[in-house]
Symmetry: C2
Subunit: 346 residues, 2 copies
Amino acid sequence: MDLTERKLKILQAVIADFVRTAEPVGSRTISKNYELGSPATIRNEMSDLEELGYLTHPHTSSGRVPSEKAYRLYVNEMMGKTELTQEQKDAIARDLYSNVTEFENLIERAAHVLSEITNLTAFAISPGKEQDKLKYINLLPVDERTVILMLVAESGEVSNTAVHLDKPASEDTLRILAKNMTYNYSGKTLSEALTIDIIKTFKADAEAMAMFEHNIAPSFIRTLEDMLNVNLYMDGLTHIFSLPEYNDIEKAKTFFELVSRKQDIMQKLNSREDGMIITIGGENEDEELSDCSVITATYHVDGRLVGKLGVIGPTRMKYGEVTSVVEYLTDNLSKAFRLTEGDNDD
Amino acid sequence: MDLTERKLKILQAVIADFVRTAEPVGSRTISKNYELGSPATIRNEMSDLEELGYLTHPHTSSGRVPSEKAYRLYVNEMMGKTELTQEQKDAIARDLYSNVTEFENLIERAAHVLSEITNLTAFAISPGKEQDKLKYINLLPVDERTVILMLVAESGEVSNTAVHLDKPASEDTLRILAKNMTYNYSGKTLSEALTIDIIKTFKADAEAMAMFEHNIAPSFIRTLEDMLNVNLYMDGLTHIFSLPEYNDIEKAKTFFELVSRKQDIMQKLNSREDGMIITIGGENEDEELSDCSVITATYHVDGRLVGKLGVIGPTRMKYGEVTSVVEYLTDNLSKAFRLTEGDNDD
DNA sequence: GTTAGCACTCACAAGGTAAGAGTGCTAACA
DNA sequence: TGTTAGCACTCTTACCTTGTGAGTGCTAAC
């Protein structure tokens, strides 16, 4: 069931036109703009394409609209890779690195840049840190009954919590506890650390043990959980108001309600596989995303930790352009995070 | 120009009805529901109220709508304080403290609870920390050429940055530097700390000085700036879709564009004075907020640091209920932050 | 296989009409 | 003098009708 060359061209033309205008496209329009034959000829071809499932018909007397199957074909086979020009790349890089001081910041910024360029809703998910390993643990006295529990991970991430103690603790006790913890936990991944029976692994005098069990261990666990948490950044939500498909207030509402359930969104997006993934309309398992397309791609930190970046938009989307930008951005993120890592070594 | 009792009652009735329904209210409706006289009488009174500027008339044959002047009168003089029932209070407190592990978290949660109860868009701004003082500063070696710069503030806030060093530094050097910094900065407010000529205040050997100047000082300044930063949390944005006044896609768009400019929003809201402030429609200096009402109130951390909490909604708002909830929440926040503080002392 | 021609379909905008809600005014009433 | 009933008038809204334009599908000719 291969399509003839002309059918392919017509399909491509319909997709191009529809993506641009969001209006069903008629045979005359194609005929005028593409030299593919007379309106009648094109009508016949379109009719065939419809029978094959690539086009649909909102109603008898309207033009044709590409189906999801058409977009899928387009994405898989017809979409030329849109190489970004050097200026575009430079502009993106300039935007991306401007005003950025740290890790999370850069990720957030990537979402922003992506949404600005594509005029779509963009998101970025910070890396899942299950594979990150604890490097060392410290307990720092603030005042008599407050200490700061500090965890340092191999990725460079640092986290502290102020811990309130039942009883004053000597610096010695704290030092011993910290040493003990570092000994037990360093080299373990964050997730492994959470599975260890934290009390049993310890050997210290009764008082230190009691303090550890009641004051420090709970904070330790909570901090580990916090470090494992991934963040979701979204940007360009208001872009959807410019899309004709969301001119309906109900649609807009549904969309905003969807994206404001950040936990859900994150879970859905983050469970996707690695690499660039494009899901079109009904291919999204999610009912609520059934007339959206979602593009995600992964970036890497230190070759291990994996974060995500992507856009959510209407199925009518400039797949070529968007994927190029997403790719360029994830490449840049991976590079940036490799550099900081490398920095530490030499 | 005091209003007669009946005029006041009619005005109150109009406001109550309009707040509930968002429809202009006619004389018959009032007459039926409130025993304030026949429709004709009420019409005469309404006509007077309109002349006095408390009511307006979308068009000749429609009911009356309260003016901003009416809401102002209502808020100033007629609005009974809606005491929350004990159950409501308990429910709010339960919601507020559930799932909360720390400072920022609690603030974010407050915005969430507020928006859920009021069905409006709520926001919370974390305290400005200009008045917070540095308590001590530490430099912790991670590996040969990475140290963690740790700032502890009196409020209990802790901040770290990983700092990369040009050359390896001995633990001794770090200890001296940290001690020196603590000596120079502890007791200073964060903003004061930023004004000090950081290099001049130092006395150490040339190598330590160089390291301080080139590696640590820049991070120190950036971290101070970070700590000074306030965060804005918004919640319940999608509630505006339920309001008839935002059934217009353009209005909704404008609103979302406004609130997505977080920096602007924060500046506008945060510059407001202390205590509970209600601005109605055009009272907002901001053109874009001219058909909204904004309620803000302040909460305190340790009696010094001041954060804000509030809602943005249509001028047609249940001022009584909303202010009660806002007040109860800010009281709770202040109490919570006093407790943690007090905790440290005894 | 391609194209011109024509009847037909459907969405959409413009105009017209009727219903309903509400006012303003006048005159009668207590 | 304040209150009320009655009535004409206004304006919005929903609904229907109609005309137009874009587009298809089919047939017949090239």
